[in-house]
Symmetry: C2
Subunit: 391 residues, 2 copies
């Protein structure tokens, strides 16, 4: 039988995500290509205790259906943390629980995008977002990302000329580049979108992973009702439970709820309760500090080795948090070919290509420093240096 799939399924960029997971699990290969938090920094013991507590004291409820919006005490916790950490005025009514913040990408696109609508995003931009948005067949506009954020003139023209439904960005420790917007650019962006019909969709998967543990004022602070934020417990507690959230004005939430309900009724209730119980009994800031100390050490080591061992013409970003850095290759070197040569040397890197909606990314690779340990970073960078030599 020939299946007559929808047109939207023909627009999908070639997927790298599953290929990544496959490469990451080959035992002999050192992978800098993935996007996994470090498994050894997951507090299995603490989560297990929270799970036992939930199952013992409210198992029947946690294992039953619940409402679409998500567990109220967890939403309240998230709102409180926004207010305390970032000086926002969030309420639980503005927070909804989703299956990891990837689900926000799908649902925000679903509620906003008609075919042919305009969407802005960073160039390079997060490949999971490009995949999710592509299925709603928008017109993409990539805005160049500098070390301190998007080029403001380009951003401003985009909003004026195309009135995109939303601009999607990762202001903190961006994926794939590790770059962070300056406060000036955050303010400028907030001012540009205010009063327009363009939403600034701020994916804050990494904001808690600042090496100096200092909070950074989000774009939403300047964008007001034009701003929405998505967040996730994947990088600070554990990704396998798939618990993320959206923080948006109530008018958006109302429509979002309809899409979420149609998509899967509600997110895993057991894990919402486990995470909430875990948060009640854990010093989250101390736990995050433990994570960021390790990631900072990994990042410094990788930066030093890159400066020392890779060709002088290589340019790298200088992450102050998060999980990724971006390397710009010497003139004429192709990232796909380097990827293949890397595999021959048993090191996996991620070519920049899937981070572009148009052409681009042949001159960059993304390196992940959260998942590999220091031993593997050393060995992997040596292998990568060899791969560069063979190009």
């Amino acid at each position: 039988m020939n299946y007559a799939f929808a047109d939207r399924m023909m627009n999908l960029p070639e997927s790298f995500l599953d290929r990544l997971f496959a490469v990451s699990s080959v035992p002999d290969i050192i992978s800098f290509a993935g996007g996994l938090p470090n498994s050894r920094l997951i507090d299995v013991k603490g989560i297990k205790e929270a799970a036992i507590d939930v199952m013992t004291n409210e198992g029947e409820e946690a294992l039953q259906y619940t409402t679409t919006d998500g567990y109220l005490p967890l939403r309240q916790y998230i709102a409180d943390r926004y207010n305390k950490r970032l000086g926002l005025n969030a309420t639980a009514d503005e927070i909804r629980i989703v299956n990891g913040s990837q689900q926000c990408l799908d649902l925000v696109a679903k509620i906003f995008l008609n075919k042919g609508d305009h969407v802005g995003l960073e160039k390079p931009g997060y490949l999971g977002a490009i995949e999710a948005f592509s299925l709603y067949e928008p017109v993409f506009h990539g805005i160049s990302l500098e070390d301190d954020g998007p080029v403001i003139e380009e951003f401003s023209s985009l909003v004026k000329d195309f009135s995109p439904k939303f601009f999607y960005g990762i202001p903190n420790f961006q994926n794939p580049s590790g770059r962070t917007y300056s406060t000036d650019k955050r303010r400028a962006i907030g001012e540009i979108v205010s009063g327009t019909d363009t939403v600034f969709y701020e994916d804050d998967a990494f904001g808690e992973l600042a090496f100096d543990n200092k909070p950074i004022v989000p774009v939403k602070k300047f964008a007001g009702d034009n701003g929405i934020i998505s967040g996730s417990f994947s990088k600070i507690i554990a990704p396998g439970m798939r618990i993320g959230w959206i923080y948006a004005p109530v008018k958006v939430i109302r429509t979002f709820d309809a899409a979420k309900q149609a998509a899967d009724l509600h997110s895993n209730f057991l894990c919402q309760k486990i995470i909430h119980r875990y948060l009640e009994t854990t010093d989250l800031d101390a736990h995050i500090k433990k994570i960021t100390e390790v990631y900072q050490r990994h990042c410094r080591l990788m930066c030093e080795l890159a400066d020392e061992m890779l060709p002088d013409s290589v340019v790298r970003t200088d992450p102050k948090g998060g999980m990724f850095m971006l390397i710009t290759l010497p003139e004429g070197m192709d990232s796909i070919k380097l990827f293949e040569e890397g595999l021959r040397q048993r090191v996996a890197v991620l070519p920049g290509v899937p981070f572009y909606t148009g052409k681009g990314g042949h001159d960059t690779i993304r390196l992940n420093f959260s998942a590999p340990d220091e031993e593997n970073i050393k060995e992997g960078m040596e292998r990568l240096a060899k791969a560069f030599l063979n190009m």
Copy 2:
């Protein structure tokens, strides 16, 4: 700010699901309106033991990211059970794990439907499916559902005249009616779709809940590659973990994977492992028998009381499994008004209205017999009888 939502969000039928959950949780009201499995039949102890086992022995892995397809041993279990129970030839390659079978509704619609494509469904049909499909803006065709399945002539004309991308049905103990297709109609439907471009999408949320515990041959047995099935652990283990699956030909699975990955990367890995561990250590058939014995008792009681206490002109279905029965009201009585009078009597029923894509359902109500206990069924039916009297 005025948010410019997508056109698809304007097509949503008014949602009853959240209103249901809200009504169901008012303490003083006896609810026959919900769709919850009985909380007391959830094996909290067994699931807790499985959870402790998983967290103790493979916590790091279970709490990390995984691949989109789902946990292979769980997919293998599902395939094996299809083959053993229903005489199918399923392989793990044809099974994918989703966030409860509601997610299948969204993703199947997403991969198949262009705006304006034709979709067939039962009349009345499952309201969660109508909500999910509506967002892809198809043209709906309702086919009348008789006690032994859809009217075959209508079904045949629909396939011939409109070539719908798929027909969605619940052949076993249908929601909302409790009806079950006869084997003859299953065969006829399979023969009609074979060789066409129409998929028969068989939602089998309730098949395991046959009161006599006898397996029923699925439509897919006759439809071959034109058949796909969705299933769920929600009704036989626990809904709060949101673990369901799709069983479809590999050609469909490949496209489905792309949509699932964009939607949320993967389903909750921790709970996939917990459910698999639970299945390894539990006699699932014995557990299901325990559930169906209770549901059968509830159903018989409700049927007897309906026959005894409701007006003679009431017609009810005669469920042989599942969780629901459908009542056709006396001529001229309106289901929405009965719903409101029911609430005054402190009993909640579900009007048939949301189960129709067009007009309809003002002459029917759905009653749930799985969630309330026998005491509440007795008291609730008395209240319902009073509500009928007051109409």
